[in-house]
């Protein structure tokens, strides 16, 4: 499939946007302004970009504990996203969610969840709803290699398959679940094998190549929209940092780290776009500048925003207080 030039630019822009957002988060975290923990999306940007470029605004994504990249790529307001990470009143969840629950529902984010693999059945329900409401909405559900070992994985893949739901499973196989290499917890090479067992068409792609992710998603989304049921896309990728805030990730062999660091998602999509003449160096630079500005603004916004008032802790349990 020949990817349109405008799409290549979009892929580059989204990949870079997520990268810059995460670098900003890391920077602010370094200033000790981000409470709690963080699971940075750095390194995996091409997955979120490739998937979301293939979706419509009315489509949904289900995110994870490593969710900033997903929501920013889906179009979340960066100010509100950044403010949420800092626990501010202006955050998209009013400071109640933070990094692990960063969510902006009105751009099509079903939710980000701290319980590994818990998003899968929720995505099933949203896809069922899309089908029952007779819409053309599709749901893309992100999860990690580690998540595929949880019981909800099989339950969800099965349900989606028997009901032929408009769902795309996106496995971000970054080879580790915290410090545990996938080789210790998965007997096969590819998580995709498990999709096949549920009669779900499954492919493996280079998760650092936004174009590959995009192309696979386009095909899966098309199938989903046409009533052809769920698909699974396994994206091989790698974290640029540790699992969470203070993890130096010493457990990863240096040659493995080197290999992946040499496969920078931003560089890869940029080079493709340049080669395909979708973009010039100058245009790329101007995109970067614009994005950097927006990200910086988000950072300032978040830092300057107010903390919620303590008693706000009591709101939002039910629609109406009981």
């Amino acid at each position: 499939m020949a990817v349109k030039k405008a799409t290549l630019v979009d892929l580059f822009t989204r990949t870079l946007k997520v990268r810059l957002f995460e670098e900003k988060v890391w920077d602010i975290f370094g200033q000790n302004l981000v409470p709690g923990t963080l699971h940075l999306y750095l390194g995996q940007e091409a997955v979120a970009a490739g998937v979301t470029v293939a979706l419509k605004e009315t489509d949904w994504i289900q995110s994870t504990h490593r969710g900033h990249g997903h929501v920013v790529a889906k179009g979340a307001d960066m100010n509100a996203a950044m403010a949420e990470l800092l626990g501010k009143k202006t955050g998209s969840c009013k400071g109640k969610g933070g990094s692990m629950h960063i969510t902006q529902f009105d751009v099509g984010v079903l939710g980000a969840t701290g319980v590994v693999a818990s998003g899968l059945p929720i995505a099933v329900g949203a896809a069922l709803s899309a089908q029952m409401r007779k819409t053309d909405e599709v749901v893309a559900c992100f999860f990690g290699d580690g998540a595929s070992n949880n019981g909800t994985f099989g339950e969800s893949l099965n349900m989606a398959a028997i009901w032929q739901l408009p769902l795309v499973w996106i496995v971000e196989n970054n080879l580790y679940a915290m410090g545990t290499p996938i080789t210790l917890t998965c007997p096969s090479q590819n998580i995709a094998d498990r999709g096949e067992a549920y009669c779900t068409p499954s492919v493996v792609v280079d998760g650092n190549n936004a174009v590959e992710v995009y192309e696979a998603t386009v095909e899966a989304v098309k199938r989903a929209r046409e009533g052809g049921g769920p698909s699974l896309i396994e994206c091989k990728t790698y974290r640029m940092r540790g699992h969470s805030r203070f993890d130096p990730a010493k457990y990863r062999p240096q040659d493995e780290v080197d290999h992946w660091m040499g496969r920078d998602a931003v560089e890869i999509i940029k080079n493709i776009a340049l080669e395909q003449k979708a973009l010039t160096e100058k245009q790329a630079e101007s995109i970067r500048k614009k994005l950097q500005k927006a990200v910086d603004k988000a950072g300032d916004f978040a830092i300057k925003s107010e903390h919620p008032a303590p008693e706000e802790a009591l709101d939002d349990v039910f629609k109406e207080a009981i």
Binding site: C93, T103, F105, P121, G125, L128, S129, S156, V317, I322
Partner: protein, 324 residues
């Protein structure tokens, strides 16, 4: 008005809501054509509304609950059934971490208008994995509403309210009342959450209980009346929201309180009620709040053992006599 069973009252409520709102649908194991629910509550609904809206699922409790969450937040009104309350143990993450917390942790962005129906209680000799009463787990989970109808009339009115509620409702039924008949209006009515019902007025002692124990308490009250003991019986109908006022007012009148549920004693809902009442009506209490519950054991199979396990009229009467 005609007399119908608790089971049929529930079905009427479900049916009315499905007729009213196309987004209401039912999902669960064996709820559909071939079975109609393990206790036949949904029998006939698949025939009427189709297998799409009365949907048989695989044996996947956590995914059933989770799919209900996903459907609820995107505009549907799912009524999910978990065949036995004991099996919600497999769905605790979706129920307690997702459904219950979503509105809150997303800062009010999401509504989760789902109903999760399930059934508690013993008396059917089906042993430790199919007889428990676990409502206390959910009462201790902020973000969930809980309905506990003991009467057919309430079952219909509460299921309708539950379906229309914008928040997740745990709708718990009891095995031994499905066959109980009572007059239930055919026309529509709703029962608001958080309003207890005084089932019998009395002056000497208040009895508060849930499910089948309400019926036992009423029998006991009848018996004790012959001995001149006047028992007031309160049925909370919902545990969350909890109608404290009706209860506290009653205790202030009678000065005595006996709590009766089929739960194992330690950490039961009765513990919470006892704690509340001694907090809020300390000066009115003439005796300690008494708790009548099952012992702290799993539910045994053998009828002799199970009968001993489940509180009976004698234990309720003894507790009352001990403090009046």
């Amino acid at each position: 008005m005609t007399e119908i069973t608790y089971r049929d009252a529930l079905k009427q409520g479900l049916r009315e809501e499905m007729l009213r709102d196309d987004n209401v649908f039912i999902m669960g194991e064996d709820v559909g054509l071939n079975w109609g629910g393990a206790f036949k509550v949904t029998k006939g609904l698949a025939e009427e509304f189709g297998e799409d809206r009365v949907r048989d699922t695989p044996i996947s409790e956590n995914a059933i609950a989770g799919a209900a969450v996903g459907a609820a937040i995107t505009g549907m009104r799912p009524v999910a059934e978990i065949m036995f309350g004991d099996l919600i143990s497999l769905a605790m993450d979706q129920v307690c971490n997702q459904a219950a917390k979503m509105r809150y942790m997303f800062g009010g962005q999401t509504s989760v208008p789902l109903v999760l129906r399930s059934v508690f209680g013993g008396g059917k000799n089906i042993a430790s994995h199919h007889s428990q009463s676990l409502e206390a787990w959910f009462m201790h989970t902020p973000g969930l509403k809980i309905a506990v109808p003991a009467f057919a009339y309430d079952a219909k009115g509460l299921i309708k309210t539950a379906i229309r509620d914008p928040d997740p409702v745990m709708f718990f039924e009891h095995k031994l009342v499905y066959d109980r008949k009572e007059e239930v209006p055919e026309e529509e009515y709703l029962i608001p959450f958080g309003e207890a019902k005084v089932r019998r007025e009395g002056a000497d002692v208040t009895v508060w209980g849930t499910f089948f124990m309400v019926h036992k308490a009423l029998e006991v009250a009848e018996e004790l009346a012959k001995d001149g003991i006047s028992v007031e019986v309160i049925d909370p109908r919902t545990l969350v929201p909890l109608d404290k006022k009706t209860l506290i007012d009653s205790v202030k009148k009678t000065g005595r309180l006996v709590l009766v549920t089929e739960e194992t004693k330690t950490g039961a809902t009765t513990a919470e009620i006892a704690a509340i009442v001694q907090e809020e009506a300390f000066d009115w209490l003439d005796a300690p709040v008494m708790r009548v519950n099952a012992p702290d054991t799993p539910v045994p199979f053998s009828p002799t053992l199970e009968q001993y396990f489940i509180p009976d009229n004698k234990r309720i009467a003894d507790a009352i006599r001990e403090i009046v």
